[in-house]
């Protein structure tokens, strides 16, 4: 089978499942007994295995299979989760990730068998006592081990069935006749329309193989559709359990069927769990353990019809779980390129619309209806743009969900207890931005973990809790998304940075002491400064911060640091919601049109030339008590202002963080929605031009990046 066309989907989904597994295993470490987490892990591992198998990646399949075995034991309560096991599981996940990466790069899984990990996984299974000789026979072990663990595992509802005297008798008769008694719970699909009809077909199917002794709810109620999504039966038959279950499952709109030898009555309660549990749990998604599970009743060599069912298996999830989740996923996977092309078309449309507007204006349109139509078009394009932008938005969860695992690893590596608290994972950003912020965030978290947080002894001495805390908070703030990385560590020691700056010759002693703390902290973002201060292999306070800064700025974002010595540091990243289309102020300088992003503009002022003061040979104005440096845009843009030097100046007050600057322009045109176009690498030498846009008349206007000017 040619599976290459599914490769992308396989890679996408594998990564999703891996991430899911990472998160779940992490949860498991916190809460080793949580049955939901365990089931979740089991499901993800199983699906992963099935996918790898379908795609023909044998090594990956083997590894996931062995991992699944461990989870399966955990799920049945035969194994207790401990730290050592979690470590092995994490290594196993890393190895699987390795396979996925190799597959992505070469379309082949490579030849690393990861035997050490497989051995460790099997060792976990063996240590439990009743180890399977080799991995593919976990159910036998499960059956053996089951009586030891007497806890209540999730199984079919038939367990709870109480039999009337008549039914008891019928059962005994059947047993006398050397028939086997099975309890079966049937799960009907949630969207099944005629449940009673399906139930009838189930009855019919079973009766071909045996006799139905009892039903819960009663047969009458089932016929009247008086049941939710499941019903239980007690069946007497000469066939084996598999035959019965397969017969049931062959009825359409039946989600799943579970079963096990039925012992009935509470008198045999002791024996019951032993037989039921191994049968119930593993069988949910896979057929092969069922046959083995019958073993206690009648020794039978397990046939493994796994190959064919492998593919179908992921679909047959635990019926109960499916019922709890939204059954229909109302999402579509779309190639990002298709979205990009859609976005481009919307951009074209907006340009065309702008062009119509300018034509209508220049034609001095007299008819109101034309203007009305244009306004209507304008609102439609704006809405269309918003909708497309929304489609491109993805929650940052996909990026941040790997961080808890990373912090855990760092914590172990450094022997420094710490916790990561995240909030706002659902905050959405443009897909392109989300793809890019992973690395900077990772740098900052490492920085906090390695250098922000103190060692436990030090923390105790300071009266802080032994375990350090790192917070990752994301939230939307107007047209921006803010992501904060905060730690309750020692904060940045500005004195030490100052000393280093002098030592490294970045600043003279005079400069260093004249500089305020925020200027000193900004030094950490300087490439030359940070690399020189490399402290550990993990990260130095400063290592990579220059990378963080340049990356964030490339995304038109900003980085800001707040720190208090002894109390901690907060890095905040501010990113624009969308990159491609922005609201801009159009201005004229020296006869040329320029756009300035509205988000960077605070106010627009008319300033008389006589209000200009000179401080350190730089022009400044005093605006309501704030001294603001003036930037003559005509000089910066290498052109000549066409304005009468004596008249009032138009000053656009731009802000960047706490800093302000006044951009002197010739005149204002107005506010406009513009589509940002890249000018390519030939033109990127000009730092304060962030791109270009096409105006309504087809003319190209450059976009001034006010942040780069301040």
């Amino acid at each position: 089978m040619d599976v290459s066309q599914y490769l992308d989907i396989f890679l996408d989904e594998s990564k999703e499942h891996l991430q899911n597994l990472n998160t779940s295993v992490l949860n498991l470490e916190q809460d080793p007994e949580n049955p939901e987490t365990i089931s979740e892990i089991f499901r993800a591992a199983h699906t992963l295995k099935g996918m790898a198998g379908t795609m023909g990646y044998k090594r990956m399949q083997t590894l996931t299979h062995d991992m699944e075995n461990v989870f399966s034991e955990v799920r049945e309560g035969n194994l207790k989760v401990n730290a050592g096991m979690v470590d092995v599981l994490f290594r196993c996940l890393d190895a699987i990730e390795g396979y996925v990466t190799t597959i992505q790069e070469t379309s082949d899984e490579g030849d690393n068998d990861n035997e050490p990990i497989i051995k460790e996984l099997n060792a976990i299974l063996e240590n439990k006592g009743a180890a399977p000789e080799e991995a593919p026979a976990p159910a036998a072990a499960a059956a053996e081990a089951a009586p030891a663990a007497g806890s209540t595992a999730v199984s079919g509802a038939w367990e709870a069935m109480e039999l009337s005297e008549e039914e008891q008798k019928a059962m005994e008769d059947a047993m006398m006749a050397n028939k086997k008694i099975f309890g079966v719970t049937v799960f009907v699909q949630e969207n099944c329309l005629l449940k009673a009809a399906r139930a009838f077909l189930v009855f019919k199917a079973i009766e071909e193989h045996g006799e139905i002794i009892a039903a819960s709810p009663s047969t009458q109620d089932i016929e009247d559709e008086k049941f939710e999504l499941e019903f239980s039966l007690v069946v007497a038959t000469e066939a084996d359990l598999d035959t019965i279950l397969n017969a049931v499952k062959s009825v359409s709109e039946i989600a799943d069927a579970k079963g096990a030898p039925f012992t009935g009555g509470s008198a045999e309660a002791e024996a019951a769990p032993a037989e039921e549990k191994p049968a119930a749990a593993p069988k949910v998604e896979e057929k092969k353990p069922e046959t083995t599970a019958v073993a206690p009743v009648k020794t039978e060599v397990a046939k493994k019809p796994e190959k064919k069912q492998e593919k179908a298996a992921p679909a047959k999830n635990d019926g109960k779980k499916t019922a709890g989740k939204p059954a229909v996923n109302r999402t579509v996977r779309v190639d990002i390129e298709k979205l990009d092309s859609l976005m481009n078309l919307v951009s074209e449309l907006i340009i065309a619309k702008n062009s119509l507007v300018s034509t209508a204006t220049s034609a001095g349109s007299t008819g109101n209806s034309l203007n009305e139509q244009i306004e209507y078009l304008e609102s439609v394009t704006t809405n269309l743009h918003e909708s497309v932008m929304k489609v491109r938005m993805v929650p940052i969860e996909s990026v941040v969900s790997k961080f808890p695992r990373m912090i855990r690893d760092i914590s172990k590596q450094l022997n420094k207890p710490m916790e990561l608290y995240m909030s706002g994972e659902e905050t959405e950003l443009d897909r392109t931005v989300v793809d890019e912020i992973g690395d900077p965030l990772m740098h900052m978290l490492r920085n906090s973990a390695d250098h922000g947080l103190e060692m436990p002894e030090e923390r105790i001495a300071k009266g802080k809790p032994e375990s350090g805390s790192i917070f990752l908070d994301a939230y939307q703030d107007g047209n921006n998304v803010v992501i904060e990385v905060r730690d309750d560590g020692n904060g940045i020691d500005t004195e030490r940075v100052r000393q280093k700056a002098i030592e490294r010759g970045v600043m003279t002693e005079e400069q260093a002491y004249a500089a305020d703390d925020s200027e000193i902290i900004n030094l950490l973002f300087m490439p030359s400064f940070s690399t020189a201060k490399q402290v550990s292999d993990l990260s130095g306070r400063g290592v990579g911060l220059d990378v963080v800064k340049s990356k964030i700025e490339a995304l038109s974002g900003e980085v800001d640091v707040k720190t208090k010595l002894g109390e901690g540091t907060t890095f905040s990243i501010r990113l624009p919601l969308t990159l491609a289309i922005i609201q801009a102020l159009m201005v004229v300088v020296g006869g040329e049109k320029y756009a300035i992003a509205l988000s960077g503009i605070q106010t627009i002022e008319n300033v008389s030339p006589k209000d200009i003061k000179t401080v350190e040979s730089k022009e400044v104005i005093n605006l309501r008590g704030t001294v603001i440096p003036l930037l003559r845009m005509d000089h910066i843009l290498e052109t000549q202002s066409k304005r009468n030097p004596g008249s009032d100046m138009v000053v656009v007050i731009a802000k960047k963080g706490d800093k302000l600057a006044g951009l002197v322009v010739d005149e204002l045109i107005g506010q406009q929605e513009i589509v940002i176009k890249s000018m390519g690498k030939y033109m990127n030498k000009c730092k304060f031009i962030s791109g270009a846009t096409i105006l309504g008349d087809g003319e190209v206007a450059l976009i001034i990046d006010s942040n780069a000017l301040i």
Partner: protein, 151 residues
Amino acid sequence: MANELSTNVNEIIQYIVIRIGDEQYGIDIKYIDNIVRMQQMTRVPQVPEYFKGVINLRGEVLPVLSLRLKMGLSKDEITKDTRIIIIKMEAHEAIGVLVDSVKEVVNLSTAEIERVGFDRGEDRGAYAMGIGKHESGLITLLDMDLVLQGL
């Protein structure tokens, strides 16, 4: 580039012949995406002088290079014959090249092309990879890869 010429003995390559000043230059047609008339150009500050600015080519913003200034000749004089040749090469981003005029398309076989040792220091010779002999005269064949390198 130079290797391409020597390998295939009887290969015929199409060149677009352009004029800059009194000289004829040839550009391999396979790199040419489009030829457009001079149009409104937006100046970009703080870039080398040989970048004349950016144009809007059907919704794409493209930089325009003055071949004259790049080769160290006098400034372009915009006339009705002035053309912008849009060059698309795999190794480079798309770019427009400003030329005085576009003359014709010629077929040159390898035999008609002479590899001459140019003094790379000489302005005109700096980007040449050979001389094509054609009935209309000698054509300096431009190595566009070399022109676009290090822009």
